[in-house]
Symmetry: C2
DNA sequence: TTAAACTGATACTAAACTGGTATCAGAAGG
DNA sequence: CCTTCTGATACCAGTTTAGTATCAGTTTAA
């Protein structure tokens, strides 16, 4: 069970970096070099962050990217959902006839409970909270 | 993010079924038919449960499988670890030089905290607990 | 004594996902 | 007009997931 994929990971680290320099446009190249992330891979990730309005960009020679929302308001569950989709159940075996078989519902119910705990944990961690932790 | 794969799912449902009939050998065919699981797929899953000592088997015409451990003692995290391996971090980017970059440690620390919550939740759910839920 | 109903063991497959690379175009600034 | 940047895609290999297939051997009951 993998909670975080590489693209979510890189995206979060990038957002942290941008949040530390909220008024400058920083090039993707500079970030990928500094953080040891593959440049082309990060470019694709950054484009998604832009299309989801977490980051804004400026083209051209002094261009780059800049964080667009308050770091307190960006929760890591938002980033994960962009790259990994929603936290989801093992797809239900019985579709509509779901609850004919009680045994299956029991498992499903437990999974939903745990999923909701996981979602809450990831919703509780913002980019700001992460960068606060750096100083500590 | 998928918490449970199909093989874990089928394995848990199978263990629940076996736990409800702890003294009989039941054929894999009967279980796969009754629960709507693909037979050959379930056979491979069952063999893993046997090799991990959760289930015992009897060959031949009146043979089948039977649960081998107390349903209270089989936690769903055990089953998940058989089929999905351990709950794991996004692999560390910096290997040994991990903590030179404090920002990365912060993310890592949060992930570890959440992982431990997830592990505890899955460790708290036994096959017995699931079948108790059926009656309720 | 043999056919049917089982498990043991293993090999194969298609599709999706993951992580990464490459390319070509166009914008902006000096 | 050259360099540095983003926009937009297309490509790729390896792994994982979910499922199928096959052949061998064991047991039992008719």
């Amino acid at each position: 069970m993998k909670l975080l994929t590489k693209d979510s990971d890189y995206a979060i680290r990038t957002l942290m970096h941008l949040a530390l320099h909220p008024h400058e446009f920083i090039s993707t190249k500079q970030i990928s070099d500094g953080q040891g992330m593959p440049y082309q891979f990060l470019r694709r990730i950054v484009q998604k962050l832009i299309s989801h309005n977490l980051v804004e960009s400026k083209e051209g020679i002094r261009g780059g990217i800049k964080i667009k929302r308050e770091p307190e308001d960006i929760k890591i569950i938002d980033v994960m959902q962009i790259f990994q989709g929603p936290v989801q159940l093992s797809a239900c075996m019985f579709r509509n006839k779901l609850c004919e078989n009680r045994a299956n519902c029991v498992l499903r119910r437990e999974l939903q409970r745990i999923e909701s705990i996981v979602r809450n944990e990831f919703r509780d961690v913002s980019i700001q909270k992460l960068i606060n932790g750096i100083k500590g």
